[in-house]
Symmetry: C2
Subunit: 356 residues, 2 copies
DNA sequence: CACCGACCTTGAACCGGTTCAAATTTTGCT
DNA sequence: AGCAAAATTTGAACCGGTTCAAGGTCGGTG
């Protein structure tokens, strides 16, 4: 009865010696038992059992294989973020599903501060990273580059071409949103956008849009406008208001929008969050949705189903993004891989044909 | 400008050669730069930069250090479970917090089927396991034992002494529950317990309790009774009904309890789940809670705050359990460690002084 | 000038496996 | 029995580092 001894576990070498075979043969017993003569195989297994050897230590295997069989999911947020944020949870569900199907493990990489993050990224035992890009994305990307492992950034609106990215097709999604409203008969629109440039808000021109450092916001505007133009709508008359996705900037954008002599009958909000703030403001002003004005969001967060009225929106297939990201790491070993995933229009109660 | 080349990253050996120093010195440059002469250090760093070496590969470090700096969190459920189950999420938040504070990584270990689980447990690159014991706990424990790594089981009511366990103090928590009711003035009680033995239900004797294979259920009864006896209550008159934590067995227990000529004024439910079923039955029978009868749950699940009436219960400090589990692995290297964590009484609307 | 200690550097051993060409043993056949 | 082919086994190299005893260099001291 071998006692468990954490101080010194037996190694393959010990087993080989005990069984009177070479290390190579012992290794084969565990990895390719079929090429070892039965008699020898049994002898080795018996020796292993008697000295308490439970099979090859993954640490050794990993070194020589050069593969860890795990991918790291990294973010700048503290680790707990993965389990708290609703978006993150759905995404992780997709990631774990793909990993499960592939027998790949998942390591969570993150840290409270920059320094630890650097260390964690550099010392994580993984074959690649999925970068959960929120704030601090550039830093995360730089660290991953340094580590010289394959990595894929999620839905990060960057112009950097030299890396793998899995994201939704913002142009196509925005197009769906605009088309939906145009098909309902709307002809007067306004856009509530996210930031084009860090921290800026207010009415934006197309020059500003084109100079955006956040390509997500830019692409959504482009998507809207392409679709609207297909309906013969002159988009140069469609006002674009940049917001910080907070109540204040959304409200002041709306104040300005509805101060116009011919206010829009439909609002294109670049995120559900913006749409919710807009809904609140409209209700406060006694403007009825969707009777007086229609509004469509973007993202398809769970709350969009339960708002008043329920929000028509463009749903991101979050879990699918996670799954694809895993495949991107696993299947496209290191080469840069860019993939756009289709979004889906979810029609709920916040859109309807215009009044007249 | 060294091109990133996934096929063949430079190794410490390459750096040493390029800098004209020994591998040992090169290693020191990265790990104990202070003991290397400045001139040499710079030469090595420069050589590293020029051939595109970004620092020691954790794979190598890990092998020789024998430590991975990560702990595995294992469960029998599919990986997605970690991100979906509310209890799991809170627990993980605690675990991640403790790991964060310690610079330790987290690997998620789990699998859809038995075979994969075995492989995953055997091949996970971790220094120890936290076992998330739900169904299939025995199997998980057996696998972890085989792996010969430290592990700690969470809140698993087993009698097995030869392993580390972090759990709540069921006796103390149950005591709190009973004391609360006794202090309100209650003197006639009934206990709705979880299983003592797999699959059994119905009225239970103290012999049955003492022979329980699930120590959680047993300890909670003991806790209740110890506290009640301190109030001079004769616990031999307190009926104990074993339930399967489902509606049916809880209902039939209640039928029997309230068929008594002098029914209890207070019910001690061993889980919130049981308490909810009891609440439903009592409402259906027109028995008012807490006017006619008080009821207290156990666990403090989120729903307990929003039930009708809100449930008085014993809250488990779930996140704290997670934190302690991490410490148990990290601080008590391999030795078996058993820890009980205090619970907390949460008084809500389901308890009140007895009518008379 | 010889010797000593402080400070660096070296080189080999080791961590625990995997892999593969070469050596050895079996097997199949005549 | 003799011999080639097939089946096994061996042993060394390798994966990418870390560690440490031993050796070397250099300045200071008696």
């Amino acid at each position: 009865m071998a006692k468990i001894d954490f101080a010194k576990a037996p190694t393959l070498h010990d087993v080989a010696k005990a069984a009177g075979v070479s290390k190579g043969t012992a290794s084969n017993v565990f990895n390719r038992p079929d090429i070892v003569r039965e008699e020898v195989r049994e002898r080795v297994l018996e020796a292993a059992k008697s000295i308490g050897y439970r099979g090859p230590d993954p640490k050794g295997r990993m070194l020589s294989a050069g593969k860890v069989n795990a991918i790291g999911v990294a973010t700048v947020e503290p680790l707990a973020y993965f389990f708290e944020d609703p978006y993150a949870r759905v995404l992780m569900a997709g990631i774990t599903e793909a990993c499960d199907a592939n027998g790949t493990g998942i390591s969570l990489v993150s840290a409270a501060n920059e320094e630890e993050l650097a260390w964690n990224v550099h010392s994580a035992l993984v074959d690649g990273f999925i970068l959960f890009c929120l704030k601090g994305a550039e830093r995360l990307i730089a660290l991953s580059r340094e580590r010289q492992l394959p990595f894929v950034a999620l839905d990060f609106g960057t112009k950097d071409d030299a890396m793998s990215v899995v994201s939704i097709d913002n142009i196509e999604g925005a197009g769906r949103a605009a088309r939906h409203l145009a098909e309902l008969g709307h002809r007067r629109f306004a856009v509530l956008s996210m930031e084009f440039i860090e921290g800026s808000s207010g009415r934006a021109t197309m020059e500003r849009v084109n100079a955006a450092s956040y390509s997500t916001s830019r692409d959504r505007v482009r998507g809207y406008f392409e679709a609207l133009e297909a309906f013969g709508i002159d988009t140069s008359n469609v006002p674009i208001f940049e917001t910080l996705c907070d109540r204040e900037t959304v409200q002041s954008a709306l104040e300005e929008i509805f101060a116009s002599p011919s206010p829009p009958t439909a609002i294109l909000a670049q995120s559900d969050r913006i749409a919710f703030f807009a809904l609140d403001w409209l209700k406060a002003k006694g403007i009825s949705v969707p009777a007086d004005v229609s509004i469509i969001g973007f993202d398809g967060v769970p709350e969009s189903a339960t708002s008043t009225p329920p929000l028509t929106t463009i749903r991101q297939p979050i879990a699918e993004i996670g799954r694809r990201a895993v495949r991107a790491i696993l299947d496209h070993h290191g080469e840069t891989w860019r993939e756009k995933i289709d979004t889906e229009l979810v029609v709920r109660g916040s859109t309807a044909p215009p009044r007249d």
